[in-house]
Point group: C2
DNA sequence: GGTGAAAAAGAAAACGTTTACATTTTATCC
DNA sequence: GGATAAAATGTAAACGTTTTCTTTTTCACC
């Protein structure tokens, strides 16, 4: 009942194991006659290559690890599909790890980086816990690491990355709201630990400052990137003495939560309050009212990240260590029905 | 620049490689004095175990593959999180493969099953393309396979599984609509290839038949499990000469699409039409109006599936080959605001 | 048909662990 | 302190490939 190995195939075919191996890996280098004999032996013995031995010998697994905040987030899963569409064709599978919004699973990522179980790691989420040590070690060893979506923290600045200009996008969205006449604009951020919305908040503050509007204390609330968090945060917002007329959310997930909280309070969108999201997940277009937001080219980001990863893997240490210029992809302001001029 | 191996550690510590290995794997079996010496040598050399060699030698990867229709589906990602919560603690990582709603990636799953890159495979999606061959082969070899959510097709009947009673759940939901006075009830199914909604459709038809209602041609439409598909399908439904007063959708994703289509037509939910979903994804509770649906205990399903998988892996061929009684977990009808008595 | 080069096949090492078995050291008991 | 058991360590094989280096075979050419 033991697994049949290359050896038994060789025996049955009357060739050496080297020839069998060559039949599998570079069939062109073996004569047709023997190749057929080996093929036959493979079928007759029911041989299946032992991937673990192969991986070991080759020093690679054809596995790429992807670290993201949560598989539940429709935006990141779309990026993921972009990644998959590229790496699939090259025979790679994906190991997926979640940081659960920075309740970081430091062990798993660290271990994966360290142990080379994966040929490379794509970071779609900030992995601050390691900032320094693990990543520099990985870099020294020439392990491919590519960053997507996430803005670069100092520790990650040396790795190739693909993302939109988050600051500018948030500024534009805020300017749009200001242009409609809104002055009391709130911002729902992820929270202290997350650099994801930090840049977006920065863009928001820049636009407010440029328009001469002050951001009142209590207008920037933490939604933790989640539906529930945003519902709570928006609830707070609605009790603010200077209630905002517009709520700009760090991502669409939170925007949907905000909309729910506003509806619960019996208020109308966009009549009483406007809501602006960020990401353009697919539910944004079908929400009621439909959600205005910033569209990121999620799939395209995924594809580009994936290509850089494949380059890094193929190119060896050099390619991966090469300081990649961050690739900035275009965003787009998508205007739907959740935004209108303020009441009065 | 070569990787430092156990050998150099042994040399520096003045012990044999076996002792180093033991320090790593069963430290209790080595004297403290030498253990410290080895520890020191490990640090000094910067040694890191070669996972690929270890996997090869041990014959396992600590990887579990999960096959699901799409990572974009909030229901399955919640199941996924349940799975993760269990296997994480045991040191397993997850390889995730998508069938893209039955545009099956037969190669990847088949290959993974065959090559033992993963220690086991959890199927949350139907994998009909293999029905026979690959799965029986996997079974013969004692490879752990566990099925979740999916109803069992004949080919899979021998594997352990965890799911709700889809037929009964759908019947109950339909009965609820009937009870409110609806007679013209439509059903949005996934499509021909998907056994996922097949049982649900069956439950719907049973309930209709039991109530003496006939299901008119054109009342059962295909939404392909997706938002867009459901929008289209529901659009068709609304032009039906005998327009339904209630739409029961095979999953919440499609229900959200249906709601959007209905709103687009200027109709009111639940005033003009009631909408019922299935799954209770988190967006169901925040949709506008909030969506009535069948709640599946997604996380719990994930946890149970994961536990069975771990058992199968640990228990060896025996445990996994053992015909598992399907575990039926309870569902729950969740009534929210998208359902009301029919107009008139 | 003999020569040489090219192509095909074989022999054996190597990859870095784990582990069965053998050996040495330590501890225990009288 | 010596016999014995137990604990600690060492030796070496094994895991199934891939790959380097040789050796053999084939083929084309004169």
């Amino acid at each position: 009942m033991k697994q049949v190995s290359i050896k038994q195939v060789a025996e049955l075919a009357g060739v050496s194991i080297a020839t069998v191996s060559r039949c599998l890996n570079e069939p062109s280098r073996v004569r047709e006659k023997t190749r057929l004999r080996v093929q036959d032996a493979i079928v007759r013995t029911g041989y299946e290559p032992n991937t673990l031995a192969r991986n070991f010998r080759r020093g690679r697994t054809n596995l790429i690890m992807v670290v993201l905040p949560s598989v539940g987030d429709p935006f990141f899963t779309e990026v993921l599909q972009g990644i998959r569409s590229v790496v699939d064709a090259e025979g790679y599978s994906l190991i997926i790890s979640e940081t659960q919004f920075n309740t970081m699973n430091a062990d798993e990522v660290g271990a994966m980086l360290v142990t080379r179980q994966a040929d490379g790691v794509i970071l779609l989420a900030s992995v601050f816990p390691f900032g320094g040590e693990v990543l520099t070690r990985a870099k020294r060893r020439g392990q491919p690491i590519v960053i997507g979506c996430e803005t670069l923290s100092a520790a990650l600045a040396d790795f190739p990355s693909v993302h939109i200009d988050n600051i500018r996008a948030a500024r534009e969205a805020t300017e749009h709201l200001l242009g409609l006449g809104h002055r009391r604009i709130a911002f729902v951020t992820a929270g202290a630990g997350s650099p994801l919305t930090r840049d977006r908040e920065e863009g928001y503050r820049e636009a407010m400052a440029a328009a001469g509007e002050t951001v009142r204390p209590g207008w920037v609330v933490e939604g933790g990137l989640s539906l529930e968090g945003a519902i709570r945060a928006t609830g707070d917002l609605l009790t603010h003495p200077e209630r905002p007329t517009a709520v700009f959310c760090g991502n669409d997930e939170m925007a949907l939560g905000a909309m729910h909280a506003i509806h619960q309070d019996g208020l109308n969108i966009p009549g009483d309050l406007s809501v602006m999201g960020f990401d353009d997940i697919r539910y944004a277009a079908t929400a009621s009212p439909t959600l205005s937001t910033i569209a990121q080219p999620a799939r395209e980001i995924g594809r580009r990240v994936a290509r850089r990863m494949l380059n890094a893997i193929d190119g060896g240490p050099d390619a991966s260590a090469r300081r990649g210029e961050p690739e900035i992809v275009p965003h787009r302001l998508v205007l739907r029905n959740s935004v209108a001029p303020p009441p009065d």
